[in-house]
């Protein structure tokens, strides 16, 4: 046997890839590597370093403060003694690397590179997020510069994937091939992405800023209304008879703990104005947006503070002052550059014998394109995950059947576009061989979930654990077609990364105290919709223990299948029968037996440890708790539900007043633990709550600070005459969160 020469001493990735990386990007990564070194030597302050790494997409992960409850005791994780990579963040603790994929657009080669870095630096899993990004988990900070270089060599950046920056610009995955769209927004979204990336006007935000594009107004994919800035493609005939392109532009939307719908700025903004308008808005947001209180720093709060019209006036004024920039419009000269060209001619799927399982898969996962003879194929990824080997298989399939037309979706799936119809069976077989041919894309079994307690520092409940079980459970059931079409989305906490507000059935992770123990729960959120670009947000109707959520979902969907009218949507059905009926249907599921009798409820899905919220890093607390607190909190939950009933009945003023009443009840029940003589007077309750809970920091949330207490103070000062429905809706949402925060505070007090 011939013996090969031993490989020469290896170069670094920096040397190996030097001529394949854009020099500017390469320099940025070199600077980041130096910053790592300086931080290790203690020459950069930890907060500054934390924001620096966040702006390069390197994020913290659960337990990175070096503490973890193992189910019996809280253990210190003895990481080596080196400087932190941020406040309370151990250098050696595994972290998450977010990778920006503008519009979710990928080539086969890029997918292969992602697979390589997942294997060499992570756990071999690529995770697609609800913003069309990828995330790698369990990455060591020391590995990130090389990881970034390898991505940069493939044309991918992680810059501004996290931090107070313009996050990944998203767009419908069907743009350019959709039957509904006005025109393909790809070149516009691409131009805006790279115009704003690293732009000096986007470097001084108090919080993140999210932008989305949609090809049409009515369908789901762009989710424009939940974004800080959203563009919906519009065409019209100009005075000279030619077709003009532009956008309906929206601003001020967002989910998170206090969701807001974006409002229309302009129903036809000329295409050449899209970029300068974004720049002007960025300047105003950077200048006037909140910087100290993170909980009120998103653009939606600036809208609230200044008023929508005033904000728009300021942005227009800013726009008029902007020095002209050629990049605003140069891309318009070459829109065709972004047009995808099919790899193969279109074709027709004939009649014949197809592989087993093809029919069911193609019914949900194949969607015809506007261009005759082609389809978009959706690859359903369980919880957004695929292995490196699957990513390579997918790259092969793309190369063989459709070329570089891969896109990630906000539903945590991947699509292949421009698949010739006749090749769909072959694509199915290849996907099946790779374990990627699950049917049910965008149906009830295709559950969306944020990372939750699996890896997120802020997670309260296991959204992934639940979603995995729920999806398997629903896949085994014979479901009515109307139920099959529903969407379920789960978030592990009120930050709403799982986008639960816009699902037919949204699930929001919360904790409840039962006896001396905590029980993971999910609030069931009804009334949301992804259609009309996330046209409505749902509200919570009550919390059910996590382990009983599959049963709760069965009951709700069975009722819908049994009692809906022909063609009645789920939202219309819930509205007609009333949320009270749904709540009553679940009433027995909310009763939690003792730890001895129902111990299973006291642990979370996929995690046999006794459930705790201690891993979130709960702060100090004090006080004696008397049992009536729980009664008070239960009463407040009932009141907030009644507020929803009033809103549904068309009485927004009464609804808002009742929601405020619910907050008062919760505040009073806590205040009485400190002063038993607190009266029923709103002024007295608020004053006592402020003194004992706000001013002492006892009510502060580790992440949101005094945000929830402030919502009580605002509600106290508000007028309840002539309240608009959207204001009442928000008041109910705030009341619901305030009550959840009261539960958390009570738990803290009891633990102390």
């Amino acid at each position: 046997m011939a013996t090969a020469e031993p490989p020469a001493s290896p170069a670094s990735w920096k040397e190996l890839l030097a001529d394949r990386i854009d020099p500017d990007l390469g320099r940025e990564i070199d600077i980041f590597e130096t910053q790592l070194e300086l931080r290790k030597q203690g020459k950069i302050e930890e907060r500054l370093f934390a924001e620096t790494r966040l702006r390069r997409g390197a994020y913290g992960q659960r337990y990175d403060n070096g503490q973890r409850h193992d189910g019996l005791v809280s253990q210190s994780l003895a990481f080596p003694d080196v400087p932190t990579k941020g406040p309370h963040t151990m250098w050696d603790a595994p972290g998450m690397q977010r990778i920006k994929i503008p519009l979710g657009r990928l080539t086969a080669a890029q997918l292969e590179t992602l697979a390589e870095v997942a294997e060499d630096y992570s756990d071999g899993i690529l995770h697609v997020t609800t913003r069309q990004d990828f995330q790698l988990h369990f990455v060591h900070i020391d590995d990130t510069p090389d990881l970034m270089r390898r991505l940069a060599a493939a044309g991918i950046t992680t810059r501004e994937a996290c931090g107070n920056t313009v996050r990944n610009v998203t767009a419908c995955p069907y743009v350019g091939v959709c039957t509904d769209e006005s025109f393909d927004v790809t070149p516009y979204a691409h131009a805006l992405t790279y115009f704003l990336l690293g732009h000096p006007d986007t470097q001084d935000f108090g919080r993140k800023f999210k932008v989305a594009f949609s090809g049409c107004a009515d369908h789901a994919c762009g989710l424009v209304h939940m974004h800080d800035l959203g563009y919906v493609a519009r065409s019209r005939t100009g005075r000279d008879g030619t077709l003009e392109r532009g956008f309906a532009v929206y601003l001020g939307g967002g989910l998170g703990s206090l969701p807001h719908q974006a409002k229309l700025v302009d129903d036809f903004m000329a295409e050449g104005e899209a970029l300068p308008f974004a720049q002007a808005l960025a300047r105003v947001f950077a200048r006037l947006g909140e910087k100290k209180n993170r909980g009120r720093a998103r653009l939606k709060f600036l809208v609230e503070k200044l008023g929508f019209d005033e904000l728009v006036r300021l942005v227009r004024e800013e726009r008029a002052k902007l020095p002209a920039d050629a990049r605003w419009t140069t891309f318009l000269d070459d829109l065709a550059k972004h047009e995808e060209r099919p790899l193969k001619p279109g074709s027709t799927l004939g009649i014949g014998t197809f592989p087993a399982g093809f029919a069911a898969w193609s019914a949900t996962n194949v969607r015809p394109q506007r261009q005759l003879g082609y389809s978009v194929v959706t690859i359903t990824l369980p919880l957004g995950d695929l292995t490196a080997a699957q990513a390579r298989a997918l790259a092969d399939i793309a190369r063989r059947h459709c070329g570089d037309t891969i896109r990630t979706t906000v539903d945590q799936n991947i699509v292949l576009r421009w698949v010739p119809d006749a090749e769909a069976p072959a694509v199915y077989e290849a996907l099946r061989d790779a374990g990627l041919a699950s049917p049910g894309a965008n149906t009830i079994t295709d559950v969306t979930a944020c990372p939750g307690t699996d890896t997120c520092k802020l997670g309260i409940s296991s959204s992934r654990g639940l979603s995995s079980v729920l999806s398997e459970h629903l896949a085994k059931r014979e479901l009515d077609p109307s139920v099959r079409r529903l969407q379920v989305k789960a978030s592990g906490c009120f930050n709403a990364c799982g986008q639960h507000h816009i699902a037919d059935i949204g699930l929001l992770g919360v904790a409840r105290k039962v006896g001396n123990h905590r029980v993971p729960h999910f609030q069931i959120v009804l009334g949301g919709e992804t259609t009309r670009n996330a046209g409505a947000y749902g509200l919570a109707i009550g919390a059910v223990p996590s382990k009983r959520i599959p049963e709760a979902v069965d009951r709700i969907t069975d009722l819908y299948a049994r009692s809906k009218r022909p063609d009645e949507t789920f939202q219309a059905f819930v509205q007609r029968i009333g949320k009270l009926k749904v709540k009553q249907l679940l009433e027995d599921l909310t009763v939690v037996g003792s730890h001895e009798l129902e111990s299973d409820l006291y642990s979370d899905w996929g995690d046999p440890r006794e459930y705790t919220t201690g891993d979130m890093g709960v702060g100090e607390c004090a006080g004696e708790v008397v049992p009536f607190v729980q009664f008070g909190l239960a009463a407040s939950e009932r009141e907030v539900f009644e507020a929803q009933m009033l809103l549904d009945a068309g009485q927004p003023s009464a609804a808002a007043r009742r929601a405020f009443g619910a907050m008062l009840t919760a505040a009073q029940s806590l205040a009485r633990t400190q002063n038993q003589d607190v009266s029923d007077e709103a002024d007295v309750i608020v004053a006592e709550f402020r003194k004992h809970f706000h001013d002492t920091g006892l009510f502060h949330d580790p992440f949101a600070g005094d945000k929830f207490a402030q919502s009580l103070f605002r509600a106290h000062e508000a007028s309840y005459d002539d309240v608009a429905p959207d204001v009442a809706h928000r008041q109910i949402e705030e009341a619901s969160l305030f009550i959840d925060a009261a539960h958390a505070c009570y738990t803290k007090m009891d633990t102390a």
């Binding site: 003895a78 071999g124 440890r609």
Partner: protein
């Protein structure tokens, strides 16, 4: 050659004795609680929903332990991520020793009966494309160290080493012997 930073060693479960990956979750949690392994262990993560995926992973600081479903065959997958010796032979041997010890711990856990590992086959993978590119030269450079570890744990029994898998994947070498041996004997030889 310089030792690859990342080294993986997998022992496959014997056919018909493999267990659902989720059965391993409580076992890995117990390893953390009881410090069953003398390493910094951090958390357990469940990828049981991913076909042919990592199954269940026990994440550590220097190493990960997984009940892995890759290759369509369940098995114990050990991953050395950082730390340890820079010497190629020692690094491979240490990874093998830790993999065997973890497999033995799983076999001994009553909750996982009838789980048994097939001791006639070991998969070595090197997810470090800088120091171990997936090519013939690297395979040849690794051959002696891999052979020496196999000689030791299989007590000199005849074996083969073959480079397998997708050339785009990390370099993967499968070692096979005809002779069946008890897992605890392999652990003893690897440790002794």
């Amino acid at each position: 050659m310089r030792a690859p930073t990342r080294i993986q060693v997998k022992l496959f479960a014997s056919p018909a004795t493999d267990v659902p990956s989720r059965a391993v979750i409580p076992v890995f949690h117990r390893w953390i609680q009881t410090h069953a392994i003398d390493e910094l262990l951090i958390d357990v993560t469940d990828y049981g929903h991913v076909p042919r995926g990592p199954g269940v992973l026990l994440i550590g600081h220097e190493s990960d332990y997984g009940y892995d479903l890759g290759e369509g065959r369940a098995g114990l997958l050990y991953t050395r991520k950082r730390g340890g010796s820079d010497d190629l032979g020692e690094r491979i041997h240490d990874a093998t020793r830790r993999a065997l010890r973890a497999a033995h711990l799983l076999e001994s856990d009553g909750s996982l009966a009838p789980l048994r590992f097939d001791t006639r086959e070991l998969l070595f993978r090197f997810p470090d494309r800088l120091h171990a590119p997936n090519d013939a030269a690297t395979f040849e450079a690794l051959r002696a160290s891999l052979g020496s570890t196999c000689d030791r744990i299989w007590s000199g029994a005849a074996h083969t080493l073959s480079r397998e898998g997708d050339p785009r994947a990390p370099l993967t070498v499968v070692a096979r012997t005809e002779t069946a041996m008890a897992l605890d004997a392999l652990v003893r030889r690897a440790t002794g």
